[in-house]
């Protein structure tokens, strides 16, 4: 009896949590306004356990985490070119995401998971193409808003 109750309690808790978690959609585009090769939106703030769905609005793109730009202990991810991919973020912190073929062209975005107000000191310390770096800086300005 006790076991059954516990199970029921656990199930409710788990299902409840799942139901509360949100999914945010991010489009991968060749062009948006004057900007080319973009994630839209390029900055997303979500809660731990939420999901980002990367949708290929145009062909030739993917979404993957950038080495050195994700929280310690977080699992790196890499979507396939032209394929929709859903990533659930279970570790709090800041994530840099790139489109592999268009990294040098500045196709990057930032995902802030949980209570992040400041970027880690070394977030932009890696070797980042100038256009991508500029966009990252713009994206990080959203952290305090």
């Amino acid at each position: 009896m006790f076991r059954a109750l516990t199970t029921a309690f656990l199930l409710t808790t788990l299902l409840g949590a799942t139901a509360l978690a949100e999914t945010v959609e991010v489009k991968m585009l060749n062009k948006s306004g004057k900007e080319t090769m973009v994630f839209e939106p390029a900055f997303v703030k979500i809660a731990v356990g939420d999901t980002v769905k990367f949708v290929p609005g145009d062909k030739g793109h993917n979404a993957e985490s950038i080495k050195g730009m994700l929280p310690e202990g977080a699992e790196p991810f890499a979507g396939k070119i032209n394929k929709e991919v859903e990533v659930t973020f279970d570790t709090e912190g800041l994530y840099g995401v790139e489109c592999k073929p268009h990294f040098a062209m500045g196709m990057v975005m930032t995902v802030a998971v949980g209570d992040v107000t400041v970027a880690p000191d070394d977030f932009l310390a890696g070797r980042i193409p100038p256009k991508a770096k500029k966009r990252f800086e713009e994206q990080l300005a959203n952290l305090n808003k």
């Binding site: 060749n30 032209n82 070797r127």
Partner: protein
């Protein structure tokens, strides 16, 4: 010896196999302690006499940092000014003096080029020094090539270079990734004689994308004592002609017209689809249909010996000189092998350069073609030699001009 590689975590999949850093890293790990004694990658910043640009790639320095510096004592530095194809930079056929460090610079330029004036087909070409193919670089066995590769901030993409003539780090590809605004310096020793392809190889589908957008060329490494026939007799040429054959896969719209794009890289997704067909829309010499015909035709004289260097970085081809021959042919590109003689057509494997030597015996126009004649006539793979001199009736004579049969 203990195994150092955690194969579980290496994730050597098909895509990663083509990426530089991972393989180079894996190689270093496999070599283990040996990596210290024998560097997987040459050290970059060793020459003290000449300050290297410091704004270079922070390449993975693991194996390199521990390796012994190359001993460059006794080498003199010379600068080779690269020129646009079909011409060759100034060079010696037989090397004088000791091996040298040959400094060359290549600026990467992403530019809109017309491929075929008749149809208006164009491409945002990716180029070394603004030309398709990239410039011919020439060294002798034992020389070092020291390349400064610059990717100006005006470009949109990441680039690098893989020299088939070089040894290690994916032909230098693993050490030369440069983003817009960056430059890098790579020094490698020419130890294999021959003509070799070089090309951009940034990783994954970007490799064929860059190669089929013009980013390839030839590195020629001459034996120190020059070219020889099979009996060891010296072979010299009066002129070197450098032909780069380029297969393009240009996307078309729903009406079958070639599409145009606003900027370099915009055609990426369409190009990948077009490349997948494996059927080129164009196969041209030196960047565009007719680049080496008409005003661009190559001039020669009866009695002149021409070395024809032919590069095809991606696809098989079969050069043929209509009305002439290959007197001496290194079709696989290796000057370490004796040349074949008297060939009608020679085969150049995709991903290599080859060379053929011919002494013109008759004046007139010679077509130099890819003897898949569909490619020569319909896709653009034709060049012309216009040869001046005296006609030799002992070789050929029109005995009867065309006339009515029986007249």
């Amino acid at each position: 010896m203990t195994k150092f590689v955690d194969t579980q975590n290496l994730k050597v999949n098909r895509r990663n196999m083509l990426r530089g850093s991972l393989l180079a890293g894996a190689a270093a790990a496999v070599a283990g302690t040996a990596a210290k004694a024998q560097p997987v990658m040459p050290r970059l910043n060793i020459v003290k006499s000449r300050p290297l640009p410091v704004h270079t790639v922070a390449a993975e320095k693991t194996a390199q940092a521990n390796a012994k510096p190359a001993d460059l004592t006794g080498y003199t530095r010379v600068r080779q000014e690269l020129v646009q194809p079909p011409f060759a930079p100034e060079h010696e056929q037989v090397a004088t003096g000791d091996p040298k460090i040959i400094e060359v610079t290549m600026d990467i330029e992403e530019k809109l080029m017309v491929v075929d004036e008749d149809t208006g087909a164009s491409i945002w070409a990716l180029t070394y020094n603004g030309s398709v193919p990239g410039p011919l670089i020439i060294a002798h066995v034992g020389d070092y090539v020291e390349l400064t590769l610059r990717n100006p901030a005006s470009n949109a993409m990441e680039h690098n270079i893989d020299f088939h003539a070089s040894t290690g780090a994916l032909g230098g590809g693993g050490l030369t990734h440069v983003f817009p605004g960056e430059e890098t310096v790579l020094r490698w020793k020419a130890i294999k004689p021959g003509v070799f392809t070089y090309h951009c190889a940034p990783g994954g589908a970007m490799i064929p994308y860059h190669v089929t957008h013009g980013m390839n060329g030839t590195m020629m490494v001459l034996p120190r004592d020059g070219l020889k026939d099979k009996d060891g007799n010296q072979l010299t040429y009066d002129k070197l002609v450098y032909v780069g054959e380029q297969d393009y896969y240009l996307p078309r719209d729903e009406n079958g017209e070639f599409k145009s794009y606003e900027a370099a890289g915009d055609d990426y997704a369409d190009s990948v689809d077009a490349m997948r067909t494996l059927v080129p829309t164009h196969s041209v010499f030196n960047g565009a249909v007719g680049a080496l015909t008409g005003d661009g035709a190559i001039k020669a004289k009866v009695g002149e010996t021409v070395l024809m260097v032919h590069n095809q970085a991606n696809r098989d081809t079969r050069p043929h000189l209509i009305g002439g021959h290959g007197d001496f042919v290194w079709e696989n590109g290796s000057f370490g092998d004796a040349p074949q003689t008297g060939l009608e057509t020679w085969f150049i494997r995709g991903g290599s350069s080859g060379a053929a030597m011919y002494t013109f015996k008759q004046p007139g126009v010679y077509a130099y073609v890819n003897h898949n004649l569909i490619e020569a006539a319909l896709l653009g793979a034709t060049a012309h030699f216009v040869v001046e001199g005296e006609w030799d009736n002992s070789l050929m004579e029109q005995v009867v001009a065309p006339r009515q049969i029986g007249s």
